[in-house]
Subunit: 241 residues, 2 copies
């Protein structure tokens, strides 16, 4: 399983992913699920992935090959596409083609290969965009009404986002919100696991303004987690029925 | 969808269910999902249901018929069974038989009829028991390590239970915990809905000690929900990262 969450706020984009992959419960590994593509000041794109690792890795490899191809142009390379909508379209098409290829390879198995992605970014002169790309390549976009998108195990971490995140939320509060959302998910689903990858793209910065890997036992994360547990228990005690 | 939760504490059993049923998103109704069977002082049994309404209603009707049958005995009637284990076995067998009958009737459809149940109760001289009965009739039981059981949409309401419920929890705190667990679920899943049915069985009371229907707009429930939201937001503001 996986948990990735992205917020689109007036002040910027905030992205958080876990790193646990598993093939069955007895085969657990750590793989990065957040990928940065940037030409600082001109464009920044961050992709987060959930689903079959062979689909997501092959999709990312194909996107990278298309960037490096001698004949790369605005219809094939996410680093040359003219808008973030075009970036999402290229990624969606690549994901869909990869998913179909691998499903065809695996047709002797009953299982289907599938994956979804969150794509965030901005081009100089354009606006910040945040997309969720479905396995078939179609996508939806975050709006002011619902300024966040999730992929993977989304339920445990959704209530805190619903309660505290609006487009006006500060980047500092947004980091806190995604980390607490992840904390709830880590506690309840063993197939979501540390370390975490956090990225912040400040508005109009067109680069990854902050990036941080949060390892198992990270003192700040542990302190936040413990403080949140204590605050919830205190709140519980003080509620009257 | 549905959300039902049961707690087994040293002080007693606490049970809460919603009442929303839906056949598709455009056909929503209210049906009771909590059913009491009692011979006050001698035995009390509460059943909560999730899943196909035709399966749960037919199962309950068959259990009632078996209670009223002229030849009812300890192997067929849950009001005569000698232990709560035997009660769970009768309910499991009836559920499984009903599920199979209805699946057979519906074999022209691709969908399967299925349902699960939570069964709580005590017989005079016996101990309190809390079971989750699967569609196939097998069951698991709440223990001191995990003193609660859930059926239906369980994810949104699980974190609060994990944080605050232990066998030592008081009945008053337990009512608060299940109501807050339901509150989180109501906010996140439209197919779980008011009114709610709450029941408390105090230890060795062998009757439903408290029962309450909580309607849409219930002032106490609304006040608790608002206070919990405010407490969560305050806690969020005060957490440092």
């Amino acid at each position: 399983m996986t948990y990735c969450v992205g917020l689109k706020l007036n002040a910027g984009l905030v992205l958080l992913s876990d790193t646990r992959t598993n093939a069955g419960l007895d085969n657990i590994s750590t793989y990065r699920k957040m990928f940065h593509f940037e030409n600082p000041g001109e464009r920044v794109i961050v992709i987060m992935t959930a689903g079959s690792l062979s689909v997501t890795q092959t999709t990312l490899a194909r996107l990278q090959e298309a960037i490096e191809a001698p004949d790369a142009d605005e219809t094939s390379s996410i680093m040359r596409a003219e808008t973030m909508l075009q970036v999402a379209t290229i990624i969606g098409n690549t994901l869909n083609r990869t998913r179909r290829d691998i499903t065809e390879q695996c047709r002797d198995l009953s299982q289907q290969a599938s994956a979804s992605m969150i794509v965030a970014g901005q081009r100089a002169g354009g606006t910040m965009r945040l997309f969720l790309i479905y396995p078939e390549g179609n996508f939806i976009e975050a709006t002011d009404d619902t300024p966040y998108l999730q992929i993977g195990e989304h339920k445990y971490g959704k209530p805190i986002l619903d309660r505290v995140v609006t487009p006006e939320t500060s980047l500092s509060d947004a980091k806190k919100a995604v980390l607490l959302s992840m904390d709830s998910t880590l506690r309840s689903n063993l197939s979501v696991g540390m370390p975490l990858d956090l990225a912040v793209i400040e508005r109009d910065d067109c680069r990854v303004s902050q990036r941080r890997r949060i390892d198992e036992g990270d003192p700040a994360f542990m302190a936040m987690s413990a403080a949140w547990s204590a605050a919830l228990r205190d709140s519980f005690v003080n509620i009257q029925i």
